[in-house]
Amino acid sequence: MIKKKQNRVFKGGVNLFDTYSIPFCNIFEEISSDLPPELFNLALPDKQSVKHIIATLCPTEPWALPNWVILGHKTTVFLDKIKEIKTSLFPEAKCSVVISNNETEHISAAKEYAVANEWMEVFAIEAKYPHDDPVVLSKAILNREVNFGQDTLSQGILILDAQTISAIHKSRVLNDNVDSRFIALSGTGLKENEFINVQLGTSVEKIIKNRMKESARCRVFVNGPLRGKEINDFTQRIDWTVNNIVVLEVQDTKVMFPMINTDRLHFTTNLLGDVRACVYCNFCDDICPVNLEPALYYHCYKRGEKQRARLYNLEKCIECGLCSFVCPSKIELLRIIKECK
């Protein structure tokens, strides 16, 4: 059964791959931990509570770990893994596989696979950020309303990415130990963008120490600069939730002729403009994936009526940060939304 979901199911969002094309080199380096490595140990829910499994093979952030690192060209081998997980762990669950629609090879292989397996559906979606968010995915694919911050398991939906599926297969089905994972390293502050296979429990310092450019001042973000956290404490250890590390240059001096020197400002933490008053340009509500009007919160906040902002469906915000990302007046909309909440 093949369903090609139309774009109208998804609202807003932006294709970041056009703006931030990040070339990775294909050499994988293995990094081992100084301490004995931690083991992958994901607490899986019990058999009955999972009704749907959504396998997201559609990373929407350019700096996230791409699928081919896990899948290679062996789509069917990977789909077999899903099948084995389903039969041994969640026999009653249905499975939806979400693939980015420019990976035609995987889609056609998965389509063929789904014909033989009734329980599986394949969805080809455009890789627009943040359409792989749990709230957006469960709404678009299963038409379930999940609130932001709520665990999708309460609705019986288990969302897994490619690497976690591989790890669950290895540890639960084959009963083998998983103690390392792939991480994508990228950003303007690094000498080279690369993938590493790192043992769980390795410190961030050990990973980025020899890879950062010496000359530039940098900031380090775990799980990307849009949704991730900035870390200042490099002794922090890698666990299973770390998908990628992005190191960005701090461009906090003025750049002459920004129109022609765009490469010096691109993919840095610079605001790329001055803070101005809101001009009601509608960029924020055009791009909002959950159909909100972020400028309303800004005006409530400015008038000092944080209570009032909650009337305008504020709780539906999934904190993807796209409104702050596109704002031409460089207003910190996401911070305002978080404060109003």
Partner: protein, 367 residues
Amino acid sequence: MKKILSKIETPLNKNLDRIESFIHSHGKVNFLFGAIFEAFDGLLRSSKHTAQTQPFIRNNIDTKKFMGAVLIALVIGWVLPAMYFFGLQCVISRLIVSFGVGVFVVDVIWAIIAREDHISEGGFVSCLLVPAILPPQSPLWLVGLGAAMAIIFRNIMGGVGHNLVNPALFSRLFLTICFPSFLATGYQVPFVGIPDLHTLRYGLDTITHATPFSEFKAEGTITSYISLLLGTANGSLGETCRLALILTGIWLIKMKVANWRLPVSYFGSVFVFSGMFSLLSKSTTAPPMFHLLSGGLVLGAFFMITDPITTTYNQKAKWIYGIGCGFITVLLRNYTTLAEGAMYAILLMNLLAVPIQSFMIKIKYRT
């Protein structure tokens, strides 16, 4: 070009840094020239601020580029065609006066008096619109006064982002009330053909009092649609070449600077309502196509009502806003003695945008 710029880059950057630190270390100098330096510096150099909260990367579009796109569209849409139709001297002198008075005198003095920390980019757009909506041979002091009024009015309202109505249209309203005789005359007849040195500089020497719509009201003649579209019929300086305005307007919509709902609803509603009225009383009301192509309607539809600050923020309310503009324009044009209704319609709907917005928000969120 890039090589030349990269040579002067480092010394210029150093000197600008030196001036900046000098200004910031001297309170009185900062008080007088801080905002002017900031505005000049902003044209040459990027911002030095970095993102302190999530998300840590930002899109490469800021208000300068937003306004820059409107400026480019206006230059191609009215400045270049007007130079051909009315002569270089007519257009350039008006632009110099408008920018000189509006941006470089009034805005700068305001920034010093009101102690603003920056001079807004929006002033350029307003000052480029002011001569466009005045007659081609209006006196230069009128243009200067119009630009000054636009900027003063906008700044009194709180600057870009807080102005309730379009400043350029407000200044035109002010001039219409104070100097009605200057706005009813000075409609130079556009030049058509291959220009020689004299016409390239001055255009034609013929001046009339009549615009296509006032001619229709007086005699019932309808100017040919082709000449209205190409700009060979007389009218205000910037509104004649509708073809260029439509093309640049579509470019603005494609760049997402202008919201497509507004021109579509404005044109659509003018067409529908004027069609209805002309069916009711054929002899006294103008046909729909004449409504669409005459007067400042095209300029208004692409550059005035799409001004994001003065419209409603809600997208559905934009439809009501555009339809309201169209309805009032047709009413004023058909049933009053005014020769042009678009300006009053847009100004009135600018004010009505506030209640429309809060009404639509109340419906949407049921508060």
